[in-house]
């Protein structure tokens, strides 16, 4: 079992802050229409991507969702290329063709964010087969939401991953809402983790606002997967701080509920406090992180703004070859 070293803890904090500041910036840019289309911020859920991606290596795969910026960042994506993609520029991860919901990169083992809820889950089975056939101990972490678990493909895929003992970690980010539908009203057994019983695989619940807890539980599942014992289902309980997207005021949920989570369960605030209390980090170091990250985010905006638009001629040329 991997040990949570001081360095690792600091890295977790850095990743969480990086995701938060990046997302805050994307919301600003969305509000002034520099980013258009759909934007689904990951604010409040940062600890899951940070913890999970710290528990795997660069060569492992991740499969992401429509709320996927955090997964890309935690897997090591370049903020410049991410921001360029969000601004639809030629230098973006997808050359401006994908936008927020479709960032992917083979180098990072990032097999794609996805505009279809649950759409990535069957793909994870293929990544799992690939890892197993290759025989080098590689694993895949498949992120999805509580909403996706009510889609038929969730059941198809987990069943298939289980019967073939595929090295896939199914990581449900239960942020309590599928747009406006509360998961308590949508999931018959309430806890997604309980659904693991149907596939005879481990199913565990973890506090998705605690990066160390996520790291530990995912590490265990990774170890199981690497040793050929097959998939696991992890349900990380979390909360979507904002609405479904920046223009959604989330009037369907109780204000006090959101206030509670923002006050008590903010992963950025809580993890900073924890590391300060443990004396893993000093307030000065945290300030340093913040400054460095804010600068990186600003730099990504500058890079994106200065980047060229995709070429229309090239687009029309490519269309003929599709």
């Amino acid at each position: 079992m991997a040990v949570l070293t001081k360095e690792l803890k600091k890295d977790l904090l850095k990743t969480i802050i990086k995701i938060r500041r990046f997302e805050e910036k994307t919301i600003q840019l969305y509000q002034i229409a520099k980013i258009w289309g759909y934007l689904h911020p990951y604010i409040g859920e940062e600890a899951i991507a940070a913890g999970a991606c710290a528990a795997i290596s660069k060569s492992d795969y991740i499969i992401s969702t429509h709320r996927g910026h955090g997964h890309s960042i935690a897997k090591g994506a370049d903020l410049n290329r991410m921001m360029a993609e969000l601004l639809g520029k030629a230098t973006g991860y997808c050359k401006g063709r994908g936008g927020s919901m479709h960032i992917a990169d083979t180098e990072l083992g990032m097999l794609g964010a996805n505009g279809i809820v649950g759409g990535g889950i069957p793909i994870s089975v293929g990544a799992g087969f690939s890892c197993k056939m290759e025989g080098k101990g590689r694993v895949a972490v498949c992120f999805f939401s509580d909403g996706a678990t009510n889609n038929g493909v969730f059941h198809e895929a987990l069943n298939m991953a289980a019967i073939f003992s595929l090295p896939v970690i199914y990581l449900c980010e239960n942020n309590m809402y599928a747009i406006s539908m509360c998961s308590d009203d949508a999931i018959a057994c309430r806890d997604v983790a309980k659904r693991s019983a149907a596939y005879d695989i481990p199913g565990v619940i973890v506090d998705g606002t605690d990066p160390e807890a996520v790291y530990n539980i995912v590490s265990k599942a990774v170890q199981r997967a690497r040793s050929g014992k097959g998939p696991s289902l992890i349900e990380a309980k979390t909360y979507r701080f904002g609405g479904h997207h920046p223009n959604d005021p989330a009037e369907y949920r109780d204000k006090s509920e959101a206030e509670y989570y923002k006050k008590e369960k903010d992963p950025v605030v809580n993890y900073k406090a924890k590391l300060l209390e443990e004396k893993v980090i000093s307030p000065e170091e945290i300030d340093g992180y913040e400054k460095e990250i804010i600068q990186m985010v600003e730099q990504s905006v500058k890079f994106a703004e200065e980047s060229p638009e995709p070429s229309l001629e090239q687009f029309l040329e490519e269309v003929r070859s599709i």
């Binding site: 050359k95 994908g98 794609g112 279809i116 069957p122």
Partner: protein, 325 residues
């Protein structure tokens, strides 16, 4: 030259490719000991083992999704959907995922995936096992659509499909698995987008594919005895489409009949008719005629089923009409 069955030609293509490239694997329902619903994979489990011949539960979306996930991570899967009617269960994976993934990610993810399936009526298996749904896939940018009619074509095109770096919808016809045809022993492949002239002629062009090639050949034979010479163009791949071969033939015959088993509304046939009409109106001496299936769910009763798809007599009649005879 030796003659083998269509399904044997499929099996040969698969064996040759799997022997050539260890990254190729098969995944689908009842493809293990059962050897596939049409026995095209007979014996392959014993030859390649369960790691490369993956026999799955009834989970169509995941059969395709698993193909995508493996394809984008360096493998070359052949996902099998037992009936084209079952693609409905996998449509998100085919249309929103597979068809989009390479383009949408700016070439970041390549998806060399073949989705093998079969369609068509004639076996009394009614409305949910007899459809001709090629137009759905023809319509979606990002998919190649292959519909081979002969054992020679199916072998050469399946090999090309497996080697292609993109998503290929490979549609066979359930009534032709036992058809025999010449297939050379030596290795060969057939490029996409190259039509085959199944019969040369001078009076009328019949553009047709899959099982309707054979009904058109029968019609051409009958018409020949009446002094009408038909040229039969089999595009073999609908996407990409060999428009040049079609237009060249029309240039020669000045008459076009398109024959398809699918119902006409929103069909590949009506699209091709529109293409020829807009690009080569001056070449046509008469309006293009389409011979298509009826606009109906395929019935079970044999008489009704046969009445719902084109036959030799329908093609003969259409050819005469287009020639004003």
């Amino acid at each position: 030259m030796r003659e083998i069955e269509y399904r044997e030609a499929i099996r040969e293509a698969i064996i040759e490719e799997m022997n050539r490239d260890s990254k190729i694997f098969l995944i689908g329902e009842d493809i293990g000991k059962y050897g596939g619903a049409f026995r095209a994979y007979k014996g392959l489990l014993d030859m390649y083992g369960p790691e490369r011949v993956i026999n799955t539960p009834i989970s169509e979306a995941t059969i395709v999704g698993a193909g995508i996930g493996a394809a984008v991570t360096g493998y070359r899967p052949v996902s099998e959907l037992m009936f084209i009617d079952f693609t409905t269960l996998a449509m998100d994976q085919i249309v929103n995922q597979a068809a989009k993934i390479r383009y949408m990610t700016g070439d970041n993810l390549r998806c060399p995936l073949v989705i093998r399936t079969q369609g068509g009526a004639g076996r009394g298996v009614a409305a949910q096992h007899s459809q001709s749904l090629e137009a759905w896939f023809y319509h979606v940018p990002g998919l190649k659509v292959v519909m081979p009619s002969t054992p020679y074509d199916v072998k050469g095109l399946l090999k090309t499909s497996i080697r292609d770096d993109n998503v290929v919808i490979f549609i066979e016809h359930k009534m032709i698995y036992l058809n025999k045809g010449v297939v050379p022993e030596e290795e060969y492949t057939i490029p996409f987008g190259v039509a085959d002239i199944k019969r040369e002629g001078s009076d009328v062009t019949i553009f047709t594919y899959s099982n309707m090639v054979f009904k058109s050949l029968e019609a051409a034979k009958e018409l020949e005895s009446e002094g009408i010479s038909c040229e039969i163009i089999d595009p073999r791949t609908l996407v990409p489409l060999d428009e040049e071969a079609l237009l060249n033939s029309v240039k020669k015959t000045n008459h076009l009949v398109i024959v398809t088993e699918a119902c006409e509304r929103g069909s590949v046939a009506s699209d091709i008719s529109a293409k020829v009409t807009s690009k080569a109106f001056d070449l046509l001496d008469a309006p293009v005629k389409i011979v298509a299936g009826l606009n109906t769910p395929i019935p079970y009763n044999s008489t009704l089923e046969q009445a719902s798809i084109p036959h030799k007599a329908d093609i003969v009649k259409a050819v005469k009409e287009v020639l004003g005879k």
